[in-house]
Every structure is written in C-alpha cells, then in structure tokens.
Symmetry: C2
Subunit: 332 residues, 2 copies
C-alpha cells in the first residue's frame, strides 16, 4: 500500500510505501534477509519465471519467446512497486492535509544477463541498450494520460541496503510533477524571460569556452563538472543541440551518448575507488514538450561519504571539492 | 578557502570548501587518517590548548580560567571553518554565474567533557546546556549584521566519515538566507494569507486531536511524527505556544525541551539499534523576528539506510514507514 502525502508547508508530495515490512522486525534483520535473498537472483538469465511478465526485451533472436532466456535487456514491472498502475488518482483532504493514492508505474530495466558486470568491463552496446529502453518506455508511458513525469534512475555499486546487485535501473512514472522538477523549470523560464536564451545552452557554451570544468566532448554531447556542484565529482552530460525531451534522441545521438557516458563512468570508478554512483535523467514533464527554455541532461553523482553531510534537514550543500579541481583530476 | 556559488537554475547557494584535502590522496586514505586522528581528541578535557580559544563555556567553577579544564560545555570556532568570519561579502559575476566569498561563522559546541557519552546515559542537564548554548550563540551572532540565518545541527552516532566521535554540534551563521528556509517561510506565509492561521499551530492541533502520530506532550512542547514524513521515524518537537524565534525560549521551556528531547532520543536509539541521528533547528531568519506565520521547531532524522534512496538527484522522497506506524512503535 502506498500513498502520496503533501507537505503543507513546502508543498512537495512525499510517497509513503509500507510494503517493505520495515519495522515488524529489527532493522538489521531486514537488511540481512535482503542480502541473503540476493543469492537467488531473479534478474539472471534462466530465472525469467521469477519476475513479472516482461514489458520490453532486446534480443538478437527474433524468434525468442517472451520471458525466456536469450535476451540482452529486459524491462519488467517491479515486484514490489512503489506505485500501482491500477490505482485511480483521487486527491482528498485529511484535516489540514492532502493525500492521494500511490498511482503510477514502477518498472525495472534489467540491463544485462550478466550478474556481476562492472562499468569498467561493460561494452558500448550495454549503455546503448539502456538508453534505447528508456526511450521506448517513455514513448509508451506517454500514452497513459494520468502520468505527468517520468524519472530514470540508475544506482551502480554496493549502496547500503540495495536489494539487487544485478545491474539494473528504474523507471518511475508519476501522477504529479515533482516539486524539484517544477522548480527547475521555473528557474529556467525565469532566465529565459530575462535573457531570451536557454540557461542550459549558456551553461554548455561557458563550459566549452572556459574549459576548466570541461571533461569530454563529442559531436553531440559535452560532459562537465557543473559550476555550482552540490556533490564532489558531480558530472553533467548535456546534448549540445537544444532539446527539452529525452525521447526525441536519435540513434546516432544514443551511440554518442553511450560513448561519453562510458568514458565518464570509467574515469569516475577509477579515480574514486569504484564508489557507488547514482545517475538521474532530467527531462521535461510529459505534458510540456519542445520547451524553448528547458534542456534535458544526465546528472551523475558519485556516492562519496562526505564530512558533515549537513544538507539533510538544512538543504545547505557543502562540497569539499572545487569543480575545476574535480575536472582536472577526471581529465588526467 | 571557501566560496558560495549560486546554481543558475534553482537559485540556491552551494558552499564549496576545499580545506579538506579531498582528492590529493586516495579517498580511502583520507578516511583512515581522519579516524586515527580521533585518538588524540582535542574536544576532551585537558586538551583545551588543541582548540582555538573558546567563545563560551559553562562551568560550575565561577573562577575557572578560559581554555582550561573544569567545564561542562565549551563553544569554540571550528579549526577548519567552512566559513570565515573575517571575509567581506562581495557578490560578483563569473560569466553567467554568481559567486560570493565564504563569509560567516562556523562554531563547534563541545557538549560535554565525556568522550563516549551516549544519548541513553546523558543527564537532563546535558541537553539543557546544549540549548542554553544555542540561545547564547544566536543572541551574540545577531549583533553581526552580515548574518542572515543561523543553523544549529547535531549529528549523533557513528556516521560515515565523521571526524569527531566526541559529542558535539555545530552552529553555522550564513550571509544568505538558504533557499530551503525561504521556501519554508514562503509556504507558511501562503497558508497564513489563505487561512489567517499559522500552519504549524494547525499541525500541532491536528496532531493532538487525532493522536495517531503523537509521541509525547508536556506543558510547553509536543513531539510527533509529521504527516508527510520524508524519512522513516522522522520526529518533530514543537513549542505549543506560537513563537518564530528559538532564542526567545525561557529557562522553564528549555527544561521542558530537554525532557522531551531526551525521551525521544532514548526511544529512537532503543527502537532503531542506536542508529545515527541528525537534529536540525528550524527558526526564523535573523532579520525577520516575531513572525505571525512562522513557528520554530526541532527536526530529528534517524539516519537509516533506506532501500532505493532515490531522493538524491530527483528530490522525490520515498518513505517506507507510515508515520502513524512509526509513532505507534515509538510510543510502545
């Protein structure tokens, strides 16, 4: 059972999802159970019957039956989805508060049949397949008019309490536009109204002109450490051509994106001792297409334990590494 | 050297502080060095000469000399402050970006001479002293007109990469009002304009009336799990009387606050296996006093590793525990 609840001060929606059985047992016991379960990996080839029926799959075999082996990538509904596709979206009051059922879609991209694939060993096609799957899922989920926004999130490496070690990522389709997304669009629109230019196009130009934070560049993309990085070694990958919607990407651009992403991941895991990495796609909300003031990009955040970590509760980020220094190390 | 840099899209200021020597060595080496340094604890009694000169101290001995032993609590400037008191506040452009020197104050409250004091063993006076010190420091720092906002942050327990195990907390005085604080005030004002009531007073009333999320109550304070909790077992402690500024607290209220805080910390560490806990004070910005629409409160966040952890990068919080369930367990 899950429910969106709106913070009456900040106005953001928090998703509360009680399926994890958190609290009926000691927390440490829950964590142990989860890790031992991972020995029987439902994401591995041959275990297709352990997952829900696949939504999308890539295979070299055109005659492959669904939910059998022989695939390169599979997309499945999450076994314990944080959101239910079937739910209606009913907003209602609860005294001074607002709530809504946890409607939406929660899908898993099983990125490869290889259980232990590391970024450093992953071929280009692995990254291409992931982005092709994301495009496919966004295009399909657009057909459900209840959805306002889609997140693509990839966690790499041994994060605490991660259920699945098998390489995978998540697609989350939401019946709301999250507050942070609205803020990003509002900020970009404010800049556009004042300058009559896309702020992200300006970020790209200054990144190339100055060069101190530039990491890599190819025909279609640049990678840089953003000027006001919140986290050490934060990396953005941005399309040079102005586009607000990720799913308008071409096949040639997907190849170029896979190349630059692979390069950056390789540099990050080498420099940062194979630390966990979070990747998030920023793209315009589903019902606001072809925006002149917004620009899709990919944000890569290494999960380094940082002294202090005071942003929790305060919202104040303290980054111990200047992005120019991070870029110098990542280039070198 | 530290510098504020403004995110050109979101408009928040990020503090970049390069003093931590992060990156000149392998990250793992940095962490090891920090932990071994902690053997020679500069916060322990007898080691006063290892810290900068104290700003405030509580002692039972009225004749105690500053920076000698015999204290109950000391406040010192941080040895490696993220902000420099001496800096001027010069805002300047950097191409499309904005920056500012890292001016402000960064102080450490050494809460007790006892290196290994645990919450469960801490006497009431320990908590009273902390809050008295916070009041004293806010009142003093108000005299510096450069400061706009003060944060009080306490980290308890063995967080990753925490430098100091000795019980301490931080006071950070900023030359800006952080975006999250402005958002909180804007949200509260929006509610006030519509309802002509303080949203926090309404939160308190509904918390008491309904009772399902109520944790504890005394003459001056209530403790509850907020309706739209972002984190499992999140707790708010709120003064029943409407006040926007923490430093207007009376001595009687400090005693009552210490009691309810001690009760809640004890329950949290017992229920959650002595997990790390972050505490943040929310109070009005320094130059906006006696606000009818804002209400100070203390936010307590247990640092439990949560499956998924997708708020990083997306801003979408997924909480696996309903606050009513968290409250039931914390009351029981």
């Amino acid at each position: 059972m899950s429910e969106f609840r709106r913070n009456p001060v900040f106005g953001n929606w928090i998703l509360i999802d009680s399926q994890r059985n958190f609290g009926n047992e000691k927390l440490s016991a829950v964590c142990e159970r989860v890790h031992s379960d991972a020995k029987f990996c439902p994401f591995c080839a041959g275990n297709e019957s352990m997952t829900k029926s696949e939504i999308l799959a890539f295979s070299d075999n055109p005659h492959r039956y669904p939910n059998t082996s022989g695939w390169k990538l599979r997309v499945i509904p999450n076994n314990k989805p944080i959101l239910q596709v079937e739910s209606a979206i009913k907003r209602q009051a609860y005294g001074i508060y607002d709530k809504m059922e946890g409607a939406g879609a929660h899908e898993i991209i099983i990125e490869t049949p290889e259980h232990n694939l590391q970024f450093k060993d992953a071929p280009l096609q692995y990254f291409e397949n992931i982005y092709k799957a994301v495009v496919g899922r966004i295009k399909d989920l657009r057909n459900d008019s209840r959805f306002e926004h889609i997140f693509f999130i990839k966690k790499y490496g041994s994060l605490p309490a991660t259920i699945m070690q098998h390489p995978h990522s998540q697609i989350i389709a939401l019946p709301i536009t999250p507050k942070q997304v609205n803020e990003e669009l509002d900020g970009a629109l404010r800049y556009f109204k004042y300058k009559e230019r896309c702020v992200f196009c300006d970020i790209i130009l200054q990144g190339i002109d100055n060069g101190a934070r530039l990491l890599a560049e190819n025909e279609y993309f640049i990678a840089l450490c953003p000027y006001a990085s919140r986290y050490p070694f934060e990396v953005w990958i941005m399309p040079k051509e102005h586009k607000s919607d990720f799913d308008l990407i071409s096949d040639a651009e997907i190849s170029a994106l896979a190349k630059i992403v692979k390069t950056l991941y390789s540099k990050l895991v080498l420099l940062l001792d194979d630390c966990p990495i979070t990747t998030v796609l920023h793209s315009a909300p589903l019902k606001r297409r072809n925006l002149s003031y917004y620009h899709w990009y990919i944000e890569i955040i290494p999960e380094i334990a940082v002294f202090g970590n005071i942003d929790k509760g305060t919202g104040l980020f303290i980054n111990p590494v200047f992005p120019e220094e991070a870029a110098r190390k990542l280039r070198g």
